[in-house]
Symmetry: C3
Subunit: 359 residues, 3 copies
């Protein structure tokens, strides 16, 4: 018998919701194959409990809140925000084993993060840096989409932006992205892919941005600096600048990115964190942050819709890829040069999984 492959580490912070999604009401969401109910207590903290009553397994999310406690919608067992049962119907004595699992949660950078593994290891400093999502120097907006694919296919997708040319031809794709050389480097928990494109026509999306942001219409220098942080967060520094104004560092790909001067350009951060829902589905949280025209709400709205359109194109491809992979369960994949970044990302994820298995 074939044992099922483990597809994600448990000892990691995963985004479970945008902050505004979590109110003083019960919200059901699946993370790492675990059904979870989350809600805000009256003082605004977030509680996360196993979404199955200890007694008959009814999802607690079908019940209701009474103060900070959850009342099961079947027989009225009551649980506090720590998952301890505090009331049973028609009996005074509570069974001492009566409780449901509670999870460490932490709110940061506009996401609620959950730790589905060993609570003792839940170190808040491990939450990835997505500060652009609430930093007043940036205007950011985004969405959650639930995609029917292994979360790692989204990582693969983001670590190689070559696909923009073929999947997003009407917005951010252009031949240069598929042709320009790139450099992949890595640290212990991060992998970075950098691509500089010099003196090109901006693709439709960026031509619109630099025209609106800087009233500029000529040739541009374009950059993509993709940074993966294990197991599932990818931050991408993107943008275009007037060509020749210093955006591309001396030496290009071989140069030092910190020598780049992008002040004569428009700059965005694509923030992505992808949470495994089940082995074959994921919650894809994304946001697009910009540091120009921050107060223009119309632009924020337009960018959110424009980027959402781009991600729907990805979703279509990713779900088809998952179907094909499910039909070829033993397929051995070949890697191309463009897969260098995702190979590093996969290796780090595999290491995290392997480490948990040997504990």
């Amino acid at each position: 018998m074939k044992s099922k492959k483990i597809t994600f580490p448990l000892n990691a912070w995963y985004a479970i919701a945008y902050d505004v999604e979590v109110k003083h009401e019960l919200l059901a969401r699946t993370v790492c194959n675990q059904k979870i109910v989350i809600y805000r207590t009256e003082n605004g903290n977030v509680a996360a409990l196993e979404d199955a009553c200890w007694h008959r397994l009814l999802p607690l999310s079908m019940g209701r809140l009474e103060g900070d406690e959850v009342v099961c919608g079947y027989h009225g067992l009551v649980y506090n925000a720590s998952g301890r049962c505090t009331h049973m119907p028609s009996q005074e004595t509570l069974n001492p084993s009566a409780c449901v699992r509670s999870y460490p949660v932490f709110e940061k950078h506009r996401f609620v993060w959950i730790w589905p593994g060993d609570p003792a290891l839940a170190d808040e400093s491990l939450i990835p840096d997505l500060h652009w999502n609430h930093d007043p120097a940036w205007a950011a907006d985004g969405r959650l989409i639930t995609v029917k694919c292994d979360y790692r296919l989204v990582i693969d997708n983001l670590m190689d932006l070559t696909h923009e040319t073929f999947v997003h031809g009407s917005s951010i794709g252009q031949q240069a992205v598929a042709e320009a050389p790139f450099v992949a480097t890595h640290g212990e928990r991060t992998a970075t892919v950098t691509r500089w494109m010099e003196g090109i026509d901006a693709p439709p999306f960026w031509a619109g941005q630099i025209k609106q942001g800087l009233s500029y219409e000529g040739k541009v220098d374009r950059w993509q600096i993709i940074k993966f942080e294990a197991p599932c967060t990818v931050v991408i520094d993107v943008g275009v600048a007037e060509t020749g104004t210093g955006a591309i560092p001396p030496g290009g790909n071989q140069g030092d990115a910190s020598m780049s001067n992008r002040t004569r350009g428009v700059n965005g951060y694509v923030l992505n964190t992808i949470t495994p829902a089940t082995d074959g589905t994921c919650h894809y949280f994304w946001a697009f942050a910009r540091n120009y025209c921050q107060a223009e709400q119309r632009m924020t709205h337009q960018l959110r819709e424009g980027v959402a359109h781009i991600f729907r194109e990805d979703e279509h491809v990713l779900e088809a890829q998952q179907v094909a992979m499910d039909e070829h369960p033993d397929h051995q994949f070949y890697n191309l040069n463009i897969d260098a970044g995702s190979m590093w990302a996969r290796r780090m994820i595999d290491n995290m999984i392997a480490k948990e298995q040997t504990i």
Copy 2:
């Protein structure tokens, strides 16, 4: 390899249809994982046959009746009401093995009952007493709903009415049902749960009934006498009376129910018989019978819709519970005091199943 658990006995009468559903036409229904076609013969009897042609397995329910015989809708094989093949196309000689299984059926208390087990054991005296469903002293009406859960979850639901407080809060639920003590007793094939609630406000459903039935609006005494008969029938004597008029017997739960005088109240019988369709679905036949205002058709209509609404609330919970149980196949359940009645019911069902396995 894990063998599949048997979830129901076969040697039992199961309701397959309301009497009015069965006409001189073919009706397909699944009982105990068996696909069955039923119809009335010209003299009004009910015939029940395996719903698969002996020749190529086409459901006979896709064919047509010719007199009292069923003609297969593919190649025209003809079967009589006993399941014997009486005609084959393009040949004179009939294969002697050509037949489909026929089932013992019996019509009683407005249901058609079928015996999916050994026909030699099909004793009509074992059909549960649901006489309220056609007794002229009672006005009754009901429905069939097909619920996506193991039929035993419905039994559990009915044997503990505590859930009314949490599932049916707008109609029959109230705090007293979750708090009042109850008594569970049992015989060889029956289990009874009795709960008396003294001097309470009637919940919305019963407040309406006693006002309509007896023009009474004050405090009430309320009762629930739940009687299970193995494997799948639950009759519940329910009602409210003017408080202090003798509805609650001396000694209450510890007293003798036959000493109760409920003449100053409104009394209903909730009749429930739940037939396993498959291991994970069931046909839930219910009716509500009352002994007041029997001739008021408007009240009959209103009660049928009102009770149907209550059962839809149960259906929602039961189907969610089944999904959760399917996701936790090896879950060990804990029982509370309120589960006493369903524990007896489960034990009797298990005994019936075990007895069949050792034959």
Copy 3:
């Protein structure tokens, strides 16, 4: 563990599309459990490739044509019409293993045929004769329907037209079809079932045809000459003629069909070729060709719709039969006299499958 049964030979020509379906664009279709993409090259030939990119398995049918080459819709790998990869993004050197499988295809009798087995055995002379489908002496029209059943159930259906009486009672069915004797003969790769019906009333479909075609309204002689060619093609010569004008050969079923003179009748050919899509679904290509009133487009339209209606009746039965068979996986079927033709067909299919297994 039970090994999955093989349901079709691979070394055979299967219709994958009507000729007009295949344009200079990508068309996805599944044949013999294999996902395939087909398209016409600029010179009008048909190319057929495995529908999964070598790199990440994305269906190539989600990409686009660039000249005669297919560009993958994810990372832009390019394949020529032979399946060889000719371009990879961001790299000069191509991995020598980079290719997808290509299939032999051949266009004949208005169908595109594909050979899913060993290409070395793809002998075009093995394509079944369906010339009525483009012969100017005949007016033909037809359709493709995808049916949720094993393709062999369609073969069974066509090899015994007794079912017309019970499935198609309002058009071509009549008691005579279920009662008239028939003769089944066979060669090495073909099986033939012949049925002559003398001096009968034409059923509604044929009464309409002979009235329109020959202004005749009296008794008719009717014939059905069903010819199976392994593994999945059935050509049926059908029609009615004025009774007594020589349509039925001397000796009837025992006589020589070549002595039949059907010039005083209306004659159609029902062309059927059924391609396994998966083990439990098939592409059923059919056409109806006639040799009377060939120029009357209204009649062509009417016949196509009329025959389509008949095949929808079959589809309903076949899909129900497949569901029943899936529920009885080990069922042993009994055969009647009427199954003689399909028994020969099945034996030939089984032999083709067995032969491939021993290679």
